[in-house]
Amino acid sequence: MKYAVLWAPDFALQAVLRPEPELRLQPVALITEQGPRGRVFQATFSALQEGVLAGMAPSQAQARCPRLLFKTRSPAAEDCAKAAMLECALGVSPWVEDTAPGVCSLRWEPGFGADPARLLEALAKRSLKGCLGLAPNPDLAWLAAQAAALGNGPVFCREIRESRELHPCPLKLLTPPTHLSEVLDQWGVRTIGDFVALGREALLERLGPEISPVFERAVGRVERPLRQVTTPERYEEHLDLEHAIETLEPLLFLIRRCLGQLVLRLGSAWLVAGEIHLRLGFASGGFYQRIFSVPSPTGDEDVLFGMLHTHLENFRAEHPVTALGLSAVPSRAPRQQFALFESALRDPHQFFETLARLQALLGEDRVGRPELEPTRRPDCFRMRPVSAAPAEYCPPAEALPGALGLSLRRFRPLVAARVQCSPQPVFVESAEVNGPVLAVQGPVVLSGDWWDRAAWSHREWDVELMDGVLCRLREEPGGWFVEGIYD
């Protein structure tokens, strides 16, 4: 049996630079926190060459390298990067362990298509650079991955069959305790081979029991099972912005990048996006959150980006954006048979984008399907958004009550009127209808919610005016109104 360890060196720095991979070639330092207590935690190769070291204060590092860029460590970004690494590993093997930040171990099964180059390439597509070590047990594989990082080849992968192959490697790969490392250094023990050659008993006698696990790692005798992880059910990308964003274009640029990563990660698990959750954090500490339901679950980046773009075009905020969170609820690609007598939409995505634009123009409650409320109060309904889900069962047209008579065209709001009565209406005066009354039907007394504060009551009259207009009048305690015109 063989094991592999996938390791992303400087994992915290790589996690923060994932949305901006071009910064890897520039001097960038990752600090632990903002403020005077912050210290350099990790740095790019360019920064290290300029003399920036871990543990320095930012001011010291800036003095060494004036053009140094600072990024703050982000636990949220590390979680997203960890999830991306695990997805890569799960694409190769079902037995994956989340060993440490930036390190995952997996059981290597070449018969199932596990290929080092493809795994590293998949990781690179997720904007992470990694090294791969292959060995008969996980701990040796971890040493092999670290040894691979020391290599000069284009592909950072090393396979070892026995621990003896690691003897030329530096002792620091075994990560001995600091005080023991200093002692060994004084003794001139620099490589793993020198260390093993001293012998277990001699080391225990001189350095104590603390050296025992280090020795076991060096000889590769530790056999342990992997603590298997399960496939993540949520796909997220998070960005904490160093500089607040005030305009739309840079925000869309970052959203597009995050969306690209999400689509890639979903695709590797043969999933598509059923919902997209957008969360924007503001400089004031507030946040904005919105859920986008994808009409036909898809992994098409352009379609998903179009939905977000359409919504954000009309979005306004009082404070600049300082954080961006994007997550996708995974779904299987739709396999739906269209109903035989149903006319399907020609292009569902285009249609729902059009709906989004209509809602952005008029408001969300102004576009949709009217649904009557279960009440006798006139003009009581709610607007139901057009759903992307398959249509619920709807009774056939014959089973539903049809309309009777002429339809009413309502005035919203009601039009105030002056009505002369004797005692029935004989003359109507209003902004919409005027004239003597030819015929009257009514009154119809309507009331409801008498048990509630929202109790209502009024009388309705249907009148025909001399000029042929049929209209409905409402008589309330406050006065008369024209409710609508029959047409």
């Binding site: 109903a339 007598f341 149903e342 006319s343 939409l345 020609r346 292009d347 285009q350 249609f351 059009t354 634009r357 209509l358 123009l361 008029l362 102004r366 576009v367 949709g368 399907r369 009217p370 649904e371 009557l372 006139p378 003009d379 009581c380 309904f381 607007m383 057009v386 709807c394 009774p395 056939p396 047209a397 539903l400 009550p401 049809g402 309309a403 009777l404 008579g405 002429l406 339809s407 009413l408 065209r409 309502r410 005035f411 919203r412 209808v433 015929a439 009257v440 039907q441 249907d462 009148v463 025909e464 000029d467 042929g468 207009v469 049929l470 209209c471 609508g484 015109i485 029959y486 047409d487």
Partner: protein, 222 residues
């Protein structure tokens, strides 16, 4: 003189050689309202802009609109109503229609035209009503004529039927202009809608030359 003769000769040559490509037959689907189908020689034209004007406030225009919307719904389609002044009453409508109708509630004519623009570009909905009867004359007069020409050009290559309801003739480039003149009394408030449809008087004010053609597909197959 010689130049004028040359120009005339050139014109005759061009007229003799250039021939417009034969037009594709116009597609249409039966509306389910026989008087309208007979006026239109088959049914509602696809890819056409209709104007249905009704000078009287109670003329049966809404009745006809509800009938066409209901028929479209029963055929498995999803019709749309762009309500220019938010006057549609769901409580007066057919319950089945409400399950399928896309209702767009506007307050201004300009917004209604923008919505029409978006729906025509979308092209997914085969029947779109644009109700401008509740918008004031002043507001409608402010709509430049090129806006209507642009709508007409947009609908032409599609399979969408756009029907604009107006209180008076407004759209100079409409493919078909119809006028409703009917009168109803209070007895019609409880009459059967099918019977009321028979009392509607509809006539064509103007119609672009209809091209002879067979219905490409019946309305039931969309």
């Amino acid at each position: 003189m010689l130049r004028a003769a040359k120009i005339l000769h050139l014109r005759e040559l061009i007229q003799g050689h250039s021939q417009a490509p034969p037009s594709a037959p116009r597609a249409y689907s039966p509306s389910g309202f026989p008087p309208l189908d007979s006026l239109l020689e088959g049914g509602l034209w696809k890819g056409a802009l209709f104007e249905l004007s009704s000078p009287a406030k109670t003329s049966g225009a809404s009745l006809l609109m509800h009938h066409l919307l209901r028929l479209s719904s029963q055929q498995g389609q999803h019709p749309a109503l762009i309500d220019g002044s938010d006057t549609f009453d769901p409580q007066s409508a057919d319950r089945f229609l409400l399950t399928r109708l896309l209702w767009i509630r506007c307050q201004k004519a300009a917004d209604a035209l923008r919505c029409a623009d978006l729906l025509l570009r979308d092209g997914n909905l085969p029947l779109v009503f644009l109700d401008l009867r509740g918008n004031s004359r002043e507001e409608l007069r402010r709509i430049p004529a090129p806006h209507w020409y642009r709508l007409q050009r947009m609908v032409e290559p599609t399979a969408v039927t756009l029907i604009a309801l107006t209180a008076h003739s407004l759209i100079p480039c409409a493919d078909v202009r119809l006028c409703l003149e009917s009168r109803f009394g209070l007895d019609s408030l409880e009459a059967d809608p099918q019977a009321l449809l028979g009392r509607i008087h509809l006539h064509v004010v103007r119609k672009r030359p209809a091209r002879l053609g067979l219905p490409i597909q019946s309305a039931a197959l969309g």
